[in-house]
Amino acid sequence: MTLDAVPAPVITALTFVVLGVLLWLFLTRTVLGRGFAVPLKAMFVTPETAEYPEKPRPVAPRFHGRHQLNRYADGLERCIGCELCAWACPADAIYVQGADNTPEARYSPGERYADDYQINYNRCILCGLCIEACPTRALTMTHDYEFSSATRDGLVWTKGELLAEVPPGGVDTPHLDREVRERGLNYYGGLAVTPPLLHGGTYQPAAAAPSARAGEVIPHGELPEPGDEPHDPATVGDPTRQRPGDAPR
């Protein structure tokens, strides 16, 4: 049988097969070809580049962004002006000026509140030691990291900027002492007494009162489902709580 007897399409197909095998051998077996294969493969790879300003990638759940001063569900501030955050700060970036709550102007459930609260982001290293020191979870960190500034003054954040928004249904501070007492909320998880009474009256045990934490603003922006346990960031270390993907403990 001569070559003329073979139909032309078969010869074409055979040629392509032979060329294909040769190309495959070249790209996988030779040093030069393996080098060429790298950019060829890269043509079909999705780019790794994060399109930052347009499509920012989500940060880790416990990312240390800028701080936030939280509120209770009724709008009272959590900060009691104790300055433990300022003491814990390794960079001396926090300034707290405490003041006394009065019956006419109540800012926080306790005796004292933060009259002025400043975080100097010129010095703050976002380490989170202040968060660990805070006894009322007043100070937490958000996922916001876009706060560079053209001036040093612009990096000193004051209380007005750090304070969280008033949760829905809440009222901005100051409150009247009488109003707070009428609400009768439990502010300290049963550990302390409520309603707060500074000037006269008797203390009431708080365990039976409804929690002020329900429906609070959570820094990560996830609102609790109805029927959920009240979210308390202080319990994140609980070994019974696991996220999907966590290694079993």
């Binding site: 780019p47 790794e48 580049t49 994060a50 930052y52 300003p53 920012p56 940060v59 390794p90 960079a91 001396d92 100097n120 982001y121 010129n122 010095r123 703050c124 290293i125 976002l126 380490c127 990291y145 876009e146 706060f147 560079s148 500034s149 053209a150 001036t151 040093r152 612009g154 990096l155």
Partner: protein, 162 residues
């Protein structure tokens, strides 16, 4: 300076100014001035994942004469300060300085005798990026804010700076 600073703004060079600022903002070549851990994040910003080349900044110039932006990444020791100033002086006008991280901005947590408490004691700073170290997105945010500022700058302002 020249004619542009003598005339009221917006008369002679409006569109030229816009065009020049557009080019300046979109080919802002940084000078390498990595001093500490912030430099690692700065390298990361230049690497493919965050890719500063998207903003025309891919070439980190080793020579200050070809650089427009000095990213001071890291703590500046007293011994480094004259070197930093020398590099800044060698950069050709117009030039900008970005202070990356809290150590460059104010000394950060290192409030001690060895470090300059803020690089603005040595060179004028145009943008402060907080963080320790700032993640690449934070640096990009600062850079983009600086780009926006450069695009709004007039020649007269630019001249007054130098």
């Amino acid at each position: 300076m020249g004619l542009e600073s003598k005339l009221p703004s917006g008369i002679l060079l409006t569109n030229v100014e816009k065009f020049v600022n557009y080019s300046r903002a979109n080919s802002l070549w940084p000078a390498t001035f990595g001093l500490a851990c912030c430099a690692i994040e700065m390298m990361h910003t230049g690497a493919p994942r965050h890719d500063m080349a998207r903003f025309g900044m891919e070439v980190f110039r080793a020579s200050p004469r070809q650089a427009d932006l000095m990213i001071v990444a890291g703590r500046v020791s007293n011994k480094m300060a004259p070197v930093l100033r020398r590099v800044y002086d060698q950069m050709s006008d117009p030039k900008w300085v970005l202070s990356m991280g809290v150590c460059a901005t104010s000394g950060g947590m290192f409030n001690n005798y060895a470090l300059v408490q803020g690089v603005d004691h040595v060179v004028p700073v145009d943008m402060y990026v907080p963080g320790c170290p700032p993640r690449p997105e934070m640096l990009l945010d600062g850079i983009l804010k600086l780009h926006a500022r450069i695009q709004g700058e007039t020649f007269a302002e630019q001249g007054a700076k130098t």
